[in-house]
Symmetry: C2
Subunit: 160 residues, 2 copies
């Protein structure tokens, strides 16, 4: 598995990953009916560095990194990761998270924060905890889950 900077030619593959995740609406606080253009525009926002995880020439995951805040908060990184449904369980998120921690350190970030991890996404939480992130906050019923109804979201954080 190789993690590399995304290019414009990766947009189709990125949409094939983020589209279904957004439509499912179970893990990201994004409008489920978001258009392809709006979704790609969000993922590739100014200030986002976008990466893809690739194996045998196929893109299996993508993540972005950005400064979580401006000004006095700009030394804390934030990332969002999405894996192709069909590649679930193959270590794609793990490879991307490892890459992002190394890259954030190289970029001079001093901490990394996930603002809004849906509490029912237990697999992601366990994975991030394995990478040294702690749950440092809990937002009661902050996410309306399409199947489960209102669930908590957690804030995860680690120093770099």
């Amino acid at each position: 598995m190789q993690v590399r900077s995304a290019q414009a030619r990766d947009n189709d593959a990125i949409w094939d990953i983020i589209g279904p995740t957004i439509r499912a609406g179970e893990t990201y606080a994004l409008p489920r009916d978001m258009s392809r253009a709006a979704a790609l525009s969000y993922w590739n926002s100014p200030g986002h560095e976008v990466f893809v995880a690739e194996q045998d020439g196929k893109v299996l995951g993508t993540y972005y990194m950005r400064a979580n805040q401006q000004g006095g908060g700009s030394h804390v990184a934030n990332c969002g990761y999405m894996t192709a449904a069909e590649a679930s369980g193959r270590g794609v998120a793990r490879a991307m998270c490892a890459h992002s921690l190394a890259h954030a350190g190289a970029r001079g970030f001093r901490a990394m924060q996930f603002n809004f991890v849906v509490s029912s996404n237990e697999r992601a939480i366990a994975l991030w905890e394995g990478f040294g992130f702690n749950i440092v906050g809990r937002l009661a019923q902050a996410f309306e889950h399409p199947r489960l109804g209102p669930v908590d979201a957690v804030v995860m954080y680690r120093m770099l």
Copy 2:
């Protein structure tokens, strides 16, 4: 003290409040050298409802309200409040917070979240606690304070 929707004609008064706060860099994670245009564009972002607190025809404070997240998180409001330095201690922030809680309820929000309250801003934290907000998260050294160096930021939250 009256709290009302901001109009285009309020932009000079709003800048007179947010400009010094941004330049000081002690309470908001915004670039201290942000231009007037960039600051007003941020304060009046699409999706922000902007209000001013006025007394005897003089604007003494301003706040914005927005949905803190999109999609499954869009029922949680977020606000940012700033008070004119010369009006400090006169209940301006209190009036704006009270107004915002009522307005958020009327708008159908079900909770309110402050994402990034600088921990050294003890007066604000005490005020929000008085309004029923709880510190639900702590971000270690997430803010580089211009005088104090790295300080924590806290996440505050309350149901509506």
